[in-house]
């Protein structure tokens, strides 16, 4: 039973890694600044998922705290970016 669970978790880690690659592609290519900010937020969320699944797969409860802190702090970062974009819009250029 636990064998199947571990295999399952490893597959999830692989899928999350693919999502991270897709996010990095959008971060590098994104035509406009908002695209890049959304990609950045996606990468942070994927990071939360990876640390949560990793803590389950390898029985390391410490990584759950990493997931909580990353989720809380990445929100602050995204809000700061949104504010920056808003200020730039007021200036006229994006």
């Amino acid at each position: 039973m636990t064998n199947y669970m571990n295999l399952f978790l490893e597959i999830i880690l692989g899928i999350l890694a693919l999502a991270a690659v897709a996010g990095f592609l959008r971060l590098a290519r994104g035509p406009s600044l908002p695209d890049r900010v959304v990609a950045f937020d996606l990468l942070a969320t994927v990071g939360v998922g990876i640390s949560a699944v990793y803590s389950m797969a390898h029985n390391q409860p410490v990584f759950l705290d990493v997931a909580v802190v990353l989720a809380l702090i990445s929100f602050v970062g995204t809000v700061a970016f949104a504010r920056y974009i808003e200020e730039r819009l007021k200036g006229g250029t994006l």
Binding site: V62, D65, I73, V79, R83, E86
Partner: protein, 135 residues
């Protein structure tokens, strides 16, 4: 930026961030965590509050000037090292209370050093962030 959603959400998030930063500060000696990470977290809480409302409101919520917090933290960290000199041991040697306190565990000067680091990181980060937000 006046967003009612963000302002309401930031109040709840701020409570979470402050609780978590204190938890990480207290856990710090034997497990991952400590003064530096805890200070960064609580600085993030005040930065979020300053973004949702105004930097002025965040300063009023903080009560003290960030520079005062840096000073208090430095004095706390240095003072925790002096306790060892009082007992005739090298500077910054850990001194522990002989008995355990319920829910907290053993209290020692190491905790006060961590508390000093916590305050210094909080003050420095907020000094930078609030000044930048006020620009």
């Amino acid at each position: 930026m006046k967003s009612l959603i963000l302002q309401t959400a930031s109040r709840y998030l701020m409570v979470l961030l402050v609780i978590f930063s204190v938890f990480i500060l207290l856990r710090g000696h034997n497990e991952p965590g400590g003064g530096f990470v805890g200070g960064l977290l609580i600085a993030g809480a005040f930065a979020l509050y300053g973004l949702a409302y105004t930097p002025k409101t965040a300063r009023r919520l903080l009560r003290l000037d960030p520079r005062t917090i840096i000073g208090v933290g430095l004095v706390t960290a240095a003072g925790s090292g002096l306790a060892a000199v009082w007992h005739g041991q090298p500077f910054l040697t850990g001194q522990w209370l002989p008995y355990r306190i319920p829910f907290l565990g053993k209290l020692g000067t190491v905790f006060f050093f961590d508390l000093g680091v916590y305050l210094v990181v909080l003050g420095t980060t907020l000094l930078v962030l609030l000044t930048l937000e006020e620009e």
